[in-house]
Symmetry: C2
Subunit: 335 residues, 2 copies
DNA sequence: CTGAAAGCGCTTACAG
DNA sequence: CTGAAAGCGCTTACAG
């Protein structure tokens, strides 16, 4: 590996001059044009690239961003990851990812690893229980942007969608179309977004003078396996055949749900209308295609990176730091 | 951030002793048990964690692995990424990912970035044109493991599936079941795996005394948009209605294909039998569920990490470094 | 206009 | 048994 010293030797200058030139500060530091040219030529000829470890140690900047998501293999998060990668790339940043699996202790370890690795900023979809660790980061003046899930009371920028009105929009639609017995399948995570979605379900029913019956809500354990979940959804859907519509509060629950419905040999939408929160190629392709509430993944990722990069000092800081984007109801054929 | 110096000061020892103890070499370097205990206590009390940049600069190791895939948002690669993360984590490694989008110049830039960042090892699904860059890595003695796609003639470990026999198995099955007019939808990438799959298609037909007709193969451009691809597949499938079965040579082609088939309102499997290379939740859930050739993603990822970690000196080197795993034909209801 | 020196936090030969 | 010193590759205040 060729170092600054090597170049200095090659052109007969000092390492400091080389460093200055290579950092584009030649003019500012009044290095002669002649020396500047010689150094630049030598650098490109010798194939010089700075050792980021050394730069990092010296400057405290690693040009790396830590991305902590629930699970990188989940479609929602991997789509997010791709946009994050592309955006960060424009500013010369690499991304190191970690999956929490919604396990706070795993998440905390990951924050620690990223911290030791000196990542410059953090993009996090926090699991419950990570509040303290994130607060620590903030108190160390590390730039953090939360995505998808907020932590109440932490002074940290946050970009996500307005879960309440997104879900409300969906349920309102089901009701307008004539459904009166609407079931909800959700997950027992104590996440604000899940609570918001559930609350929207309830309030929409009440607002439309429909009965809110807790028996019409199925709350699955997060830790359940796929086949357990499918079985539980099947039982839920099979028993209460008075339901005319069901809404799944996440992507993967919807996928499980479709499997259950297939097993039960119910016809969508005749036997049962289906609405799902979060889109997925599966839903678009299903016969019939499933009506969904779609999050603007692109916009979420872009905005989050933009804010983070702003904090890292590359662009102007974004003024409004709590950003709630709107989801869109995409009407297909399942309702 | 607390440093080794701080600890040294706190316990009244030298930084070197602290370093030795904290690296678990106290016994070996014959540091007294008393000092060892004092240092360890202070370190945990003060919340010491090594600065990985400094360690990296000094030792040349960053405890980071670079993962270069075609596209992190693609289900196959994000699933791979999750297993890679979990396996690497066991050995204390972080993963930084990059998507090439099958663009060699982007891929080369990414290798360069990872190199500057001093990643310890590389896990790569190479795009065509990255051969030279990978060769460079090898000549610098950087550990590299190729996944999914090989590069002929490079002395580099490689783990993937036996694409030829996997595809052969699938086509043989279609023929045994009675199909004589079998179409193939594939992509124009000059990748060995794609060639192997195509070759298997051809050879299976010939072996069974069926006509191999190039008009029955549709080769899509990699750069096509989703809707372009769907339109082209529709045209292909619509015209030659003598086809009784079609096989898609990748995951995303299959997804496009299902959309085309839906648009054409063809019944699977009565009007057209469908077989797809690579599994996907979509296929499992489709009505009817699609028969697929499934790659053992878990095994691929685990094996690749295992070999890489082996090369990094943590476990014994794996002896057999070119590993071809077997794919499995999963018979569902689309044939 | 340019160079010598210090120092980021760590590890490792070396000396005692 | 323990410490002082050098050095990884870089950047930046300082001196001239």
């Amino acid at each position: 590996m060729v170092s600054i010293k090597d170049i200095a030797k090659a052109v007969g200058a000092s390492p400091s001059s080389v460093s200055i030139v290579l950092n584009g500060k030649a003019k500012q530091k009044r290095i002669s044009e002649k020396l500047t040219a010689r150094i630049e030529e030598a650098a490109s000829e010798m194939g010089y690239y700075p050792n980021r470890m050394a730069v990092g140690l010296r400057t405290g900047k690693s040009k790396t961003i830590g991305l902590i998501v629930e699970n990188i293999s989940n479609n929602f998060f991997s789509s997010l990851a791709k946009i994050v990668e592309d955006e960060a790339r424009k500013f010369g940043y690499n991304i190191v990812y970690c999956s929490t699996e919604n396990d706070a202790s795993r998440g905390k370890e990951e924050i620690q690893m990223l911290y030791n690795q000196q990542v410059d900023g953090y993009l996090i979809t926090p699991a419950n229980g990570m509040e303290k660790a994130i607060e620590n980061l903030l108190s160390q003046n590390k730039p953090v942007v939360l995505m998808d899930r907020n932590i109440e009371g932490l002074p940290v920028p946050f970009v996500a969608i307005d879960n309440f009105s997104a879900m409300k929009q969906g349920i309102d639609f089901l009701i307008e179309v004539g459904h009166k017995q609407i079931g909800l399948v959700t997950v027992d995570l104590e996440l604000q977004q899940m609570k918001d979605r559930e609350r929207a379900y309830k309030e929409s029913l009440i607002q439309h003078q429909l009965k809110y019956n807790t028996a019409n809500t199925l709350k699955l354990k997060y830790g359940n396996t796929a086949s357990q979940s499918v079985a539980l959804i099947s039982a839920f859907l099979g028993q209460r055949n008075k339901l005319t519509a069901v809404v799944f509060s996440t992507n993967y629950l919807g996928i499980y749900g479709l499997r259950s419905i297939q097993q039960l040999q119910l016809n969508i939408p005749n036997d049962l209308a289906v609405l799902c929160f979060d889109d997925n190629e599966i839903f678009e392709l299903h016969s019939p295609p499933i009506t969904v509430i779609k999050q603007p993944i692109n916009e979420i990722a872009k905005t989050a990176v933009e804010i983070l990069i702003g904090q890292l000092g590359h662009t102007k800081a974004v003024e409004q730091t709590n950003i709630l984007l709107q989801a869109r109801l995409i009407i297909r054929k399942s309702v």
